[in-house]
């Protein structure tokens, strides 16, 4: 279980997070929605420890993530996570399979090369890519294929928790639908806890068990996805309907 307690983070005078409280139960899929620049990515990076909160706590199964000080503890902590980055963030200098098997080729999870490659090819197959792609370089792939490779890399070491940073941004609607479905399937079959940030409502409906809306540096609304459409919160209504009129300023 992941829990954020009153998390604050400012960059200079820009107060991005102003007391975020959020709970994600084990094995559930939480989707955080919110406009551009509302701190969705920062929230996610706080959980991973890529960004240190100014105040407040991030707890993973009751333990403060900031308490993982030594290298070995950090390593063990991060080994529980997989993350799909917005642009894929694939390493251009490595082939597709070396990207997917990155964690399996070094560090505490190191496996023999053949075994790591076999796992990589298997994960590529799971995300719908042929074994031939394994020896290509990321630059030779289309945007949708890069997303799939990113997804394969995120699940390569069987993580308990998977983060998805805007998984459908930059994809056409059909490809977005395919990726959404893939994410849902994988999360369910692995029994993983998922945390997704997006502003794509089709993703929300496809992926989420629970939804949280981030606005003004705090969680403005949170609840099961089934209750989202009936919620009366004007901010949430405006976001779902994508209307320019409403309490959220259109120029930010």
């Amino acid at each position: 279980m992941i829990e954020l307690r009153d998390v604050h983070k400012a960059f200079g005078s820009n107060k991005v997070l102003q007391g975020v409280d959020l709970k994600i139960d084990k094995g559930t899929s939480m989707v955080i929605i919110g406009g551009s620049g509302t701190g969705k990515s920062v929230t996610l990076k706080c959980v991973l420890g890529l960004v240190t909160p100014d105040s407040g706590q991030v707890l993973l199964e009751g333990q403060d993530v900031a308490s993982n000080r030594s290298n070995a503890e950090r390593d063990a902590f991060l080994a529980r996570f997989g993350m799909l980055f917005q642009g894929g963030a694939l390493f251009d200098s490595l082939t597709v399979w070396q990207n997917v098997a990155f964690r399996l080729l070094r560090g505490s999870l190191k496996k023999p090369k053949e075994e790591a490659r076999a796992i990589a090819v298997e994960k590529l197959r799971r995300v719908g890519l042929k074994p031939e792609t394994a020896d290509m370089f990321p630059a030779e792939l289309s945007g949708g294929m890069q997303k799939r490779v990113g997804l394969a890399r995120a699940i390569a070491a069987e993580p308990e928790i998977i983060f998805f940073d805007e998984p459908t941004t930059g994809l056409d609607p059909i490809m977005a639908g395919v990726i959404n479905e893939l994410i849902r399937e994988i999360v369910v079959e692995m029994g993983a806890t998922a945390m997704t940030i997006t502003h794509d409502m089709s993703s929300v409906r496809a992926i989420a068990d629970n939804v949280a809306m981030l606005h003004g540096g705090v969680i403005h609304w949170t609840g099961p996805v089934s209750e989202m459409d009936d919620a009366s919160d004007p901010y949430l209504r405006q976001f779902i309907n994508g209307s320019a009129e409403g309490p959220i300023e259109a120029v930010r």
């Binding site: 890529l50 950090r74 991060l78 980055f85 070094r106 560090g107």
Partner: protein, 260 residues
């Protein structure tokens, strides 16, 4: 206009300079501390040795060849004023081995390598590849910075040694083909005149320059701002700062080695 604003501007630049020195110092310290603690990425190190060392050979070779040739012409013309044209081999040798070989190698590699490192790491930062490394339990300092810094520190003395030989060859070719020196005498004069300390001091300089080149590339790449402009600025800063630090440290090292 506030009459004190020129003073404020001086203060601001001074503070910015001091802050930059502080950041570079901390980064250097972090690099050195990661250098001695496992894990080590040996394959990355070999890759970088290839990229930084081997692929710089043509640039270094051409630079020192022409410089050795020009040096021979200059010394011959200058020496003629005192009727000491015969000193060409000795002065070319000492000029190349002590000073021009290492410095030109350092500067050329600064242009070729620290820009490439800054652009690569800067792009990795902008496209979240650095964050991806961290989430994959890999420390970017260990995986990116340490292999590059170690590879450059080892590669530069080797490059400078090759540059020394080619630079002396440039002087030899010009002297023998244009200035009617005897080839065998030229080589004997060169070999007999050079002291081991001339060569070693030059190679030690080159190692320091290698460290500077890779460190500046990595530092500015990691500090890169967002977007194409941020990466472009990081690249420029890397080359400029590496070049200036090379020339400054060359002055200091020369003082250390050669003042009695």
């Amino acid at each position: 206009m506030n009459p004190l604003s020129p003073v404020a501007a001086v203060g601001r630049s001074t503070l910015a300079l001091l802050a930059a020195i502080g950041r570079v110092t901390l980064y250097t310290g972090a690099t050195l501390s990661h250098l001695v603690r496992p894990p080590f990425y040996f394959r990355e190190f070999l890759n970088q040795l290839m990229v930084i060392g081997y692929f710089s050979l043509p640039v270094v070779g051409l630079t020192t060849l022409f410089t050795g040739g020009a040096l021979a012409l200059q010394i011959y013309a200058g020496g003629a004023r005192f009727n000491v044209e015969a000193v060409v081999p000795q002065i070319v040798a000492i000029g190349i081995v002590r000073e021009l070989g290492p410095v030109l190698t350092g500067l050329m590699v600064a242009g070729r390598v620290s820009s490439a490192i800054a652009a690569e790491i800067g792009t990795m930062k902008v496209t979240e590849q650095i964050d991806a490394l961290v989430t994959l339990s890999t420390n970017p300092m260990k995986y990116l910075t340490v292999p590059r810094v170690v590879a450059a520190t080892i590669a530069l003395p080797l490059l400078a040694a090759v540059g020394n030989v080619i630079g002396i060859l440039g002087g030899y070719l010009v002297s023998v083909l244009r200035l009617d020196f005897n080839g065998a005498t030229y080589i004997r004069n060169t070999v007999e005149f050079l002291e081991p300390s001339d060569i070693i001091s030059g190679l030690v300089k080159a190692a320091v320059f290698g460290f500077i080149v890779a460190l500046m590339g990595c530092f500015h790449g990691m500090a890169s701002g967002r977007g194409a402009q941020g990466v472009g600025r990081a690249t420029t800063n890397a080359v400029v700062s590496a070049s200036i630090l090379i020339l400054a440290s060359n002055f200091i090292l020369t003082g250390v080695f050669f003042t009695e």
